[in-house]
Structure formats: C-alpha cells, structure tokens
C-alpha cells in the first residue's frame, strides 16, 4: 500500500521550529544507550517511515532504501551513547546520514536519472483512473529527476519529509536563506518542466 501523502495530518508531522533542548528523541536515546531495546522500537517507529520514504524517493529502489535505512539505524545505535544535544535535532542528524548514504549510492551507481526506475505506488482506483494516476506520477518523478541534486534534496526534505526550514537547512548544511533560495529555484524549475511535459503529453493525446 502506498503512503497517502495527501493526508498531511497523518503523514506529515511538522515539528517545532528548532529548540534542540526540546528534542523528543533525547530521552529515547538515553534509554537506547543504557541497553533498553524497547526504546529502539520507539525510535524506529518514529523515524523509519519518513527515512524510508526519503531514501526510496532519492534512490528509486525499495531494496536500496531498505539497506540505507538499516545502515542508518545501526549508526544511530552507535551514536546513541555519545549523542549530545547541540545545534541540531537527532532527526536532522538521521536525515543527514540517510542523505549521505543515498548520495554515495547514487555516485557509485553513476545514475543520472534514478527516479525513473521507481516501481509505481499502489492505489485503489478504476483501471482508467489508475492509469491516469500512474502517468501523472511518472511525470512528477521525471520532473524531479531533472532538478539539480541539491534542489531536489531541499524539496524532498521540506515538502515530503515535513522538516522545518531550520531542520532541513541543518541536514543540508546550509543557512536558512540558502535553503529558501534552493527551494524557490526547485519549485520554479519543477513548474517549468511540468508545464512543458503537460503540453507535450496533451499533444501526444490529441
């Protein structure tokens, strides 16, 4: 079953703008550091869905996304005893780890258009609706794949992952102003690509 990203209340969890001392993961990390495996379940349930979605959108491969997430959580277990609350939240650090692992995989694959290969998300429409949905999704995926990597990452973090601007900027190691500039360029570029694709698609349909 595909994650329904339309329902923001269920899948998009905005968190407070910053305040590292209010990081909800801190008590969980302390428990993990002391050997409490139940706390691991808590951390996994809290972050795995979003991290896996990010890795899948980056890598266009569920199997690769699985490996990246597993690797990221092993790093989290190792990091837990040494984690010190600082400028960034633990969730930002996790996103950064996943981004870096994904970048390494993309680099080693040397794929320029990875999103093209993503299996279609499941849906429960009629065959005609389903086909239309698949076409639109393919178009979005192709448009995203044409964006420069940093712009695509900024958009994935802010639009799909629900990170605040401060968290996304931390994960990308940017200032908030630079993040906003990347996002604006990403959305402008995407709009242009989609308009061109839609015109082309309409032409083919006629």
């Amino acid at each position: 079953m595909a994650a329904n990203v339309h329902d923001l209340s269920a899948h998009w969890m905005p968190v407070a703008d910053s305040a590292p001392d209010a990081d909800p993961d801190l008590p969980v990390l302390k428990r993990i550091a002391s050997g409490d495996s139940a706390a691991c379940s808590l951390l996994v349930d809290r972050h795995l869905p979003r991290l896996h979605a990010l890795a899948t959108r980056m890598l266009a491969s569920a199997a690769d996304a699985d490996e990246v997430c597993q690797d990221a959580f092993v790093r989290a277990w190792r990091q837990a005893p040494d984690w010190k609350p600082g400028a960034a939240r633990f969730s930002s650090w996790l996103h950064q780890v996943v981004l870096n692992l994904c970048r390494d995989r993309l680099r080693s694959r040397r794929e320029s258009v990875p999103l093209e290969q993503l299996p279609e998300g499941a849906h429960e429409d009629t065959p005609e609706q389903a086909q239309g949905h698949v076409d639109r999704m393919r178009m979005i995926r192709r448009a995203l794949s044409q964006l420069p990597p940093r712009q695509r990452e900024a958009l994935l973090l802010c639009h799909f992952q629900g990170l605040t601007n401060i968290e996304a900027a931390a994960a990308l190691e940017l200032s908030v102003d630079a993040l906003e500039s990347l996002l604006a360029r990403a959305r402008r570029g995407l709009r242009g690509i989609l308009q061109a694709d839609t015109a082309e698609y309409s032409g083919v349909q006629q």
């Binding site: 079953m1 595909a2 994650a3 329904n4 990203v5 923001l8 998009w12 407070a16 703008d17 993990i32 050997g35 495996s37 691991c40 379940s41 996994v44 349930d45 795995l48 869905p49 896996h52 979605a53 899948t56 959108r57 569920a62 996304a65 699985d66 997430c69 597993q70 959580f73 092993v74 790093r75 277990w77 190792r78 870096n100 970048r103 390494d104 680099r107 993503l118 299996p119 998300g121 499941a122 849906h123 949905h133 999704m137 979005i140 995926r141 995203l144 802010c158 639009h159 799909f160 629900g162 601007n165 993040l179 906003e180 500039s181 996002l183 604006a184 959305r187 402008r188 995407l190 989609l194």
Partner: protein, 144 residues
C-alpha cells in the same frame, strides 16, 4: 493589517508552497493575515497549491514489517572492525565530497610549492650569509 510585506509572502509561497504548515512558524500568522486581506495574494497561493498537489502524487510504498524487524535485530550493534571504522570516519569527514577540494588543494600546492621554495631560496642574502659564515669560521677557536 498584516505586518508582513507582500514581497515576503511571495517568497514564502515560492519556497514552501501553499500549505501554512510548511511555512516558518514565526511567520504563519502574519502571512495568513495578509492572505485574508489580499485577493492577489490568494491567487498566488492558488498557483502554489497546484504545484503542491502535483508533488503530492509522488507516492512511495511504505517500509515493510520485515525491514523493521531486521533493523531491530541489529541492536545492539556489533563492535566495529577497523575497516568499518575507517569507512565511517571517511563518511563523517565528508566522504567523496572531499575528493574534489582535496584534489584541487593538492594541485594548487603541487604547482605553487616549487615556486615558493625557489622564491625562498633566492630571497636568502647569499653574500651576507657567506661572509657571516666565514667570519664565524675565522674567529672560531681564536683566543682573544
């Protein structure tokens, strides 16, 4: 009247889209006020909402229960060997992102170092140095 200028609202819509939940928390109230009072701002927001709706169609399958179980089985982590330690250190330092600047720096040093060394050696006051060494040599061991 909103304290936000229209130009800032346009920046917010351009960067974060139409959903106020994605806007910076500190600016949400002012942006909403401006939207309520400006038909032009609402039209811009509609445009941003169209792109948001397109993006929202990019769905992916959720993580499997099998993956969740596999991740939980990886706790506690096994002690890391030196190869893994090196790989993780490399990653922490920036991984392959370091290669380009490191290569550029080594090229720069390789090109500049011989020039700098040559410059340094030609800067030496050769004659003065020789005279000084001779003076030390001449005076060495001579009783006053």
């Amino acid at each position: 009247m909103s304290s936000m200028k229209p130009a800032r609202l346009i920046e917010l819509l351009d960067a974060y889209g139409a959903n106020p939940l994605r806007w910076p928390k500190a600016e949400r109230a002012a942006a909403s006020q401006l939207l309520a009072s400006s038909a032009e701002a609402r039209a811009l927001r509609e445009q941003a909402a169209l792109l948001d709706a397109s993006l929202d169609q990019f769905e992916v399958a959720p993580a499997s229960a099998l993956l969740r179980a596999r991740i939980l089985r990886s706790y506690p982590p096994t002690p890391i060997g030196w190869r893994v330690w090196l790989a993780e250190l490399w990653q922490e330092l920036g991984g392959w992102r370091l290669v380009t600047p490191a290569f550029a720096a080594s090229l720069f040093l390789g090109a500049m170092l011989p020039n700098l060394l040559e410059q340094a050696s030609t800067d030496l006051p050769d004659e003065d140095l020789i005279a000084a060494v001779q003076w030390v040599d001449d005076d060495f061991g001579v009783q006053p």
